[in-house]
């Protein structure tokens, strides 16, 4: 084990573990937020793992999760819009905290990677991760009008 994998273990145990607990219990508004945060916490964990195993090709995993995680949350925001409109989620503090954590991890991994093509990919992952997380949260708290169909 090295520092990177220790950090990844902590992120998984504390962050993703809490998200798994949050998605399994409580009202719907808490569950959707927990689902969104689970992807935005697992993505930094994958970046840390890629660095910890010294395998740059594992960054593709984080790229895909940063890309498709928010899409998954959009699915729920879209198809649960009516249920969520009655009781919208309010967890902006937590969302910003997780987005900030993702930013810190991306910067740390970027510094370790140094300049080059890998850096560009990491920056794309970071932009998608933070932008996707915030947009998905926005979509959950009233991003869709909740029409009967469409």
């Amino acid at each position: 084990m090295n520092g990177w994998t220790v950090a990844a273990t902590a992120t998984l145990a504390a962050g993703v573990g809490a998200a798994a607990w949050g998605v399994a219990t409580g009202p719907l508004r808490r569950r959707v937020v927990a689902q969104n945060l689970s992807t935005s916490l697992a993505c930094p964990a994958l970046l840390l793992l890629s660095e910890g195993y010294d395998r740059p090709s594992y960054v593709d995993l984080a790229l895909l999760l940063a890309l498709l995680g928010p899409v998954g949350t959009l699915v729920f925001a879209r198809l649960l819009a009516e249920d969520l409109a009655a009781d919208p989620p309010r967890a902006w503090g937590l969302t910003y905290a997780v987005a900030g954590f993702g930013g810190v991890v991306v910067i740390a991994v970027c510094v370790a990677a140094g300049p080059g093509r890998a850096l560009v990919k990491l920056l794309v992952v970071g932009a998608l991760l933070i932008g996707g997380n915030l947009t998905a949260s926005r979509a959950l708290s009233g991003g869709f009008a909740g029409s009967r169909r469409g």
Partner: protein, 115 residues
């Protein structure tokens, strides 16, 4: 540690089976079947793991510089993940047909309908 991953796979499989048996909603049952499926991936990859090894992908690794895990089980699991999702889709299509024909997706109510 030497059997813990296998036991987790067994647990996931059994818990999925329990959900299938006790489910009161066919869509929920299809979800439980997806849980059962995932246990097979855990088992396969656990069998192929090697301590201190890395993935047998040599685009960023000099061949022979580090021990690698077993690629055969990974290839098996990889195709099954995607094909399993489409099989889930067929099952969901069947559930939609049942709901259209009988107006319910509760297996208990369905067996009452048959008499």
């Amino acid at each position: 540690m030497s059997v813990f991953p296998y036991l987790v796979a067994v647990w996931v499989f059994l818990v999925g089976c329990y959900g299938l048996v006790t489910s009161r909603n066919l869509i929920h049952a299809v979800g439980c079947l997806a849980v059962c499926q995932s246990s097979t991936y855990v088992l396969l990859l656990a069998v192929g793991y090697r301590d201190g090894a890395t993935a047998p992908v040599f685009s960023d690794l000099k061949p022979g510089s580090r021990p690698v895990v077993d690629p055969v089980v990974q290839a098996l699991a990889l195709t099954d993940v995607v094909v399993g999702a489409t099989v889930t889709a067929v099952l969901l299509a069947l559930v939609l047909q049942i709901s259209k024909l009988h107006g319910t997706v509760d297996p208990d109510e369905l067996s009452e309908l048959r008499g």
